[in-house]
């Protein structure tokens, strides 16, 4: 049985851990509200852009001269996996889940004999992927600056990825992030962003002739890069909201577990204290009786 002093020490240490997890939980709850609002505010733009893209793509016939972002390079030999993680831990299985989804895709692609490259965003996914695929990380984008990643970062990432695409470094790009469903549920998702995967069936054909200014090709050429940026931006926002949600849930659990642990330890502490007092009393009484 542990001594009284030891028990006291353990109770104190669990208590201070609980304070940390509780603080982190409250911070995450506060940040979650903001991140959620930001993610929701960004949805209309993404939806509208997708609608416009779909209706535009249904009117343009894919030919040799169409932009590569739409038509692809003609092969799918090299795949780039853009994996968005957070910069901080204490968020439960949040980062592990995204990495797991990305690795599953990588394994699947490699089984088909394709080449896989990684483009990492955020700090937390790096060690795991580096261990599994040491020579396949092309770039690590640092988002650890102050504040949550915003449109500027999305633009920078999108620009870099497009440059790599134009240099012929890869043929297909997938984006991995965690979709925010609710504070309790976040789904890791992977979707193809280059070439654009459009559901042309969504395009509503009004039947009316649409005037294009300048022409379709030029508009499309301007829209396609913007679409990549928007997708990345959306992923960053969803990720941020998911991270806070996951963190809040994980820290809530941790706080509760710490509470249970403290209760258990306190009972044990009181029991030992009582036993010590009883022993002392028995000693005094038997001493007095002996006289």
């Amino acid at each position: 049985m542990a001594s009284l002093k030891e028990l006291k020490g353990r109770i104190a240490s669990v208590k201070s851990t609980q304070k940390i997890t509780k603080a982190k939980q409250m911070v995450a709850a506060a940040k979650l509200r903001k991140a959620q609002a930001a993610a929701e505010a960004a949805r209309p733009y993404a939806e509208r852009l997708e609608g416009v893209m779909a209706s535009l793509a249904s009117k343009v016939t894919i030919s040799e001269s169409s932009p590569k972002l739409l038509a692809g390079t003609g092969t799918d030999e090299t795949h780039l996996l853009i994996v968005c993680n957070s910069d901080r831990g204490l968020a439960g299985a949040f980062n592990a889940n995204i990495v797991k989804a990305a690795r599953a895709k990588a394994v699947e692609l490699e089984a088909q004999g394709k080449k896989v490259l990684f483009y990492l965003v955020g700090r937390k996914g790096r060690p795991v992927i580096k261990r599994a695929y040491p020579n396949q990380i092309v770039k690590h984008f640092d988002t650890s600056g102050p504040g949550s990643p915003g449109f500027e970062e999305a633009q920078a990432i999108s620009k870099e990825v497009r440059t790599m695409f134009e240099d012929g470094q890869f043929d297909v790009a997938h984006l991995f992030y965690s979709e925010f469903k609710s504070a309790l549920v976040q789904d890791p998702v992977g979707r193809q962003i280059i070439p654009v995967a459009l559901e042309t069936s969504n395009a509503e054909d009004s039947g009316a002739a649409v005037e294009y200014e300048p022409d379709e090709e030029e508009i499309l050429a301007e829209l396609l890069p913007r679409n990549v940026t928007t997708q990345v931006f959306g992923a960053l926002l969803e990720n941020n909201a998911s991270e806070q949600g996951a963190s809040m849930t994980a820290m809530d659990n941790a706080t509760r577990n710490a509470g249970d642990l403290i209760d258990g330890l306190t009972i044990e502490y009181n029991r030992s204290r009582q036993a010590a007092i009883t022993t002392e009393l028995v000693e005094i009484i038997s001493g007095a009786e002996a006289l």
């Binding site: 505010a41 009004s206 301007e222």
Partner: protein, 85 residues
């Protein structure tokens, strides 16, 4: 009758309202959009969007940077890169 007008940036939905007319700085020249305009798509240069809430009303001006405008049977949608403060 009114024109349904929406102005969206990546950060948020700035406007969604019924107006009389909107003047858009298209990359090939300014154009005004009234209700019932023929469907069109145009890229936008940096400039001012003038919104007229009703006929003859004073224009409300929003400076935008880069983007894209679409007119369809539902109205006018402007997707702007950002709003100049």
């Amino acid at each position: 009758m009114a024109l349904h007008f929406e102005l969206v940036t990546p950060e948020k939905l700035i406007r969604s309202e019924d107006v009389y007319m909107v003047q858009v700085p298209g990359s090939e020249g300014e154009f005004g959009v009234l209700e019932g305009h023929a469907p069109m798509m145009s890229t936008i240069r940096n400039g001012a969007v003038s919104i007229f809430a009703s006929e003859g009303a004073e224009a409300e001006i929003i400076e935008i940077e880069g983007g894209f405008a679409e007119v369809n049977e539902k109205g006018l949608t402007i997707l702007a890169e950002r709003i100049a403060a």
